[in-house]
């Protein structure tokens, strides 16, 4: 299939738009923002929970019934089994908060571990129904003869 151009001459092709003027700065900006998001150490700001100190300090901002997340370490010796759930004291090292968790805690829940609980203030007790254990990033082989039994 051929279409012969006439003697009127071939019209010139319209110039192709050159996008480099847009693409190069845009990609550059994207790399800068991306790098800032990846390595800008913004992570620490982005885990949304209140430490026990913050929670006690701002108790008036979170009146009874307003849910929020609370993080703290389970104070050794404070765990107490209740008919429905468990009670313990969470602390960030300076302030301690009594927590009543109203369902079964996860298996890894134990003394000295970091937990995040979600719930509301009821008076001075934090009543939670969601608990997440903050898993640390360490994987260790058990030392000889010190194997901790885990039921699956």
């Amino acid at each position: 299939m051929t279409e012969q151009p006439g003697e009127t001459g071939t019209p010139l092709p319209p110039a192709r738009t050159n996008y480099r003027a847009f693409l190069i700065p845009a990609v550059g900006l994207l790399i800068i923002i991306g790098g800032f998001l990846l390595f800008g150490n913004l992570n620490s700001n982005l885990v949304y929970y209140l430490t026990t100190s913050d929670a006690v300090e701002n108790q008036s901002d979170f009146p009874d019934g307003r849910r929020f997340r609370l993080a703290g370490e389970v104070v050794p010796g404070s765990i107490e089994n209740l008919p429905s759930g468990t009670a313990f004291t969470a602390s960030d090292g300076t302030t301690a908060v009594a927590v009543r968790h109203q369902s079964d805690p996860p298996q890894l829940f134990q003394e000295g571990i970091e937990v995040v609980v979600e719930g509301t203030w009821v008076g001075d007790v934090f009543v939670s129904d969601v608990m997440l254990v903050k898993h640390d990033e360490e994987y260790r082989a058990p030392e000889e003869g010190n194997y901790q039994e885990e039921s699956p």
């Binding site: 990846l38 997340r69 640390d136 990033e137 082989a141 885990e150 699956p152």
Partner: protein
């Protein structure tokens, strides 16, 4: 000027046109099986994590699955770019095969992660960035495969899915990094905080899974290319579109 390359299959591809698998692909199967066996042996002999116990051995399925899934989607994106530049059929089939295998491993990573999550976090599912992002990854690439199925014309399909393969990778990058941005319980990368014996074992299984990925992808690709050559063979000497319309024959019906 001929454009044969667009529809003819690449002679270098891992099949001989008859749909039979070629020797390199079969050799790869052997290596993959050996790798998996080795990975299982190593994974079951190294000590388990002190805190978690045997449950932690799920890591040797979970982490390599996730790694392979990301690898697969990366390959899809790069092949998509290559297709847009060269229009070679083999890039399109690579992208399709890789996405297909990637979806499978995303599923594996999700399932193993949920099984692992129950004893460690106490829940199968939590609104965690890594879980959510992986589930989304799964859905995005199911969409990619759906787009491929919905487009009948091979060149049109290659073009549309190449564009989709690139956009999806863009989104995957964002969704994937959200693990560092969003409230999370999933650990960050544990490369530096892992026991050497466990780390070795993890590397063995990552390697084994990667070989399995290569094997599955090349098989899938060979299948797609065999289908394509079959289609082309059927095409030669077949009727043109207009032949499907024949002379109306109202008489025949009214007589009956």
């Amino acid at each position: 000027m001929t454009t044969d390359s667009e529809t003819s299959t690449d002679p270098q591809a891992g099949h001989d046109g008859s749909g039979r698998t070629s020797t390199p692909v079969r050799k790869l199967d052997g290596i993959a099986v050996a790798g998996i066996v080795l990975a299982i042996v190593v994974a079951m002999t190294v000590p388990a994590d002190k805190l978690q116990g045997d449950v932690q051995r799920l890591m040797y399925v979970h982490v390599p699955s996730a790694w392979v899934a990301f690898l697969a989607f990366g390959v899809t994106a790069l092949s998509s770019i290559a297709w847009l530049r060269t229009h070679k059929v083999t890039w399109d089939t690579t992208a399709a095969a890789s996405a297909f295998v990637g979806v499978f491993f995303t599923g594996t990573a999700l399932a193993s992660g949920m099984i692992w999550g129950k004893p460690t976090w106490g829940v199968f599912w939590t609104w965690d960035a890594r879980l959510v992002s992986t589930a989304l990854l799964f859905v995005i690439y199911l969409g990619y495969l759906a787009l491929r199925r919905a487009t009948p014309d091979p060149i049109d399909r290659a073009r549309r899915s190449a564009i989709m393969g690139i956009i999806a990778a863009l989104q995957v990058a964002v969704v994937y990094k959200s693990v560092d941005w969003w409230v999370t319980l999933h650990q960050q990368s544990s490369r530096n905080s892992i026991d050497p014996a466990l780390r070795l074992s993890l590397w063995v299984s990552v390697l084994a899974f990667t070989i399995v990925y290569i094997g599955l992808t090349s098989r899938r690709r060979a299948l797609l290319e065999a289908e394509e050559s079959l289609r082309l063979r059927g095409l030669r000497g077949s009727a043109v579109a207009g032949d499907a319309i024949s002379k109306p024959n109202l008489e025949a019906r009214s007589d009956g």
